[in-house]
Symmetry: C2
Subunit: 257 residues, 2 copies
DNA sequence: AAATTGCATTTCATATAATGAAACAAAATA
DNA sequence: TATTTTGTTTCATTATATGAAATGCAATTT
């Protein structure tokens, strides 16, 4: 409430409005959004229609509701991360997804969270589906635990409360530190339904040619399809992919800011 | 010159500035951009730094120059076309690129031009590299000619001048109509260096399950690698991919506006 | 080492655009 | 037909955007 009025610059307001258009809520009417933002219809209308004129917004000709437009897609594709990083990782991701037959992800650190930068979905019907450009908690995912384990991090990083997502989530800082130590030793992390019941993930680090960790690579699938004796096999396939990516990316270091 | 002053709304100004960040010119300093826009440094600075605070812009910590930020990548990935269409086409594109070993593209019609919505680059060193979200002329590309041939179009569509790009470009309307008729009969189009010298493309239509054309699929490679006797082979592989995509997309119809 | 250039950034009085209430038009609903 | 609910437009008021000049910082030149 009173979201817009709190922001002083038009630039801020513009992008605050865009943030409301998510994957889960792709369409808003002027009235709905005005109510949500506690702003006048005129104001919201002007923002949306100005953006619509530029193709940043798309207006459904039938319902009159607004959604994100093609121009934004266009701009998003110009962002460096895409051409510099994903172009190099994606082909490998395809290979790994095919050989493991589960959804594979690449995640990096951003704001203490895991940020998904690339994915290839499992060819199987029942599969995990995440949105590129979204976030997950670091301590409750295999991607995050790998990133933590292989990064040089402040020991006091975990003074912050570790949020519980399921009964398996690690919420004790000491326990997490032990887990990370083990992960660094083993070279991989597993998430046994620690973030979501029914979801199991395995992840390995992606290093650049200077052996700095730049991202992590995971395979994720439904718990009932996971066989513990297959774990070394998954890890082997992931590591093979990670090594291939390492070859592809050179000394590339992702600047996430 | 005087680009910014001509625009009355901040929303317009914001996105006008973003448009200056292209693939060819990914970075601008405050001073450079202020000069280009004929605006004051303060103004440009404020736009860029406001956007930078939100992650829309990225500022290189060394040079101080600005580029497009991750948030924009994030927003771009939320655009419907991406999740609804590309997710379904990309895996097939990978397969086709691998089997043909040339860069493959998917294009749709937008504003009488070919709009690139997805691509997978050739694994070979020498390859064609296009930007997703960019445009090419319809009459001078295989993607475009397929789209024209299989769309129900106005006969008078081509009264507009057909721009010449190379010595092979079809610039005569009657000749183009003949070509389109042939393409419809054959089920594929070829571009023999009609847009760019040294570039040869082959394209086939992608139909949805109602048999409406929704996009076209092409393979593009350097002319000196192209063997005429391999053409039926390329077409066969492309058609196999197009059929797979048809299965994936159902009765999906792309709304490009 | 001092001076100079070249840059991003900040300041502040003024010009200009953003704002919301209300009116409007058009469609959906009763 | 009457009523409600939309998206859109208008316009006087308010608040933000603007640019010249100043600042601070670093790299380069004297």
């Amino acid at each position: 409430m009173a979201v817009l009025k709190a922001l002083k610059s038009s630039v801020d307001k513009t992008f605050a409005i865009l943030e409301y258009f998510t994957v889960d809520r792709a369409e808003w009417s002027v009235t709905e959004l005005a109510k949500e933002l506690d702003a006048s219809k005129s104001t919201v209308y002007r923002f949306l229609s100005d953006m619509q004129k530029r193709g940043i917004m798309y207006q459904d000709p039938v319902s009159g509701k607004y959604g994100l437009g093609l121009k934004l897609f266009e701009l998003g594709n110009r962002v460096r991360i895409k051409s510099a990083f994903t172009d190099k990782t994606h082909p490998v991701l395809m290979e790994v997804a095919k050989s493991i037959t589960e959804t594979v992800h690449i995640g990096v650190f951003k704001d203490e969270q895991v940020y998904y930068v690339d994915k290839v979905e499992s060819p199987q019907g029942l599969r995990i589906s995440t949105t590129i450009g979204s976030y997950s908690p670091a301590h409750a995912t295999s991607l995050g635990k790998v990133l933590l384990a292989f990064s040089s991090y402040d020991e006091n990083r975990f003074v912050q409360r570790l949020k519980r997502y399921t009964e398996n989530t690690i919420t004790d800082c000491g326990q997490l530190k032990e887990e990370l130590k083990k992960i660094k030793k083993d070279g991989y992390a597993v998430d046994y339904e620690e973030f979501e019941i029914g979801l199991i993930c395995v992840a390995v680090p992606i290093l650049n040619q200077k052996n700095e960790i730049v991202a992590s690579l995971s395979a994720a699938g439904p718990a009932n399809r996971f066989k513990k004796e297959e774990l070394p096999n998954y890890v082997k396939k992931l590591q093979k992919g990670a090594l291939q990516i390492q070859k592809n990316i050179g000394d590339f270091k992702l600047n996430i800011t």
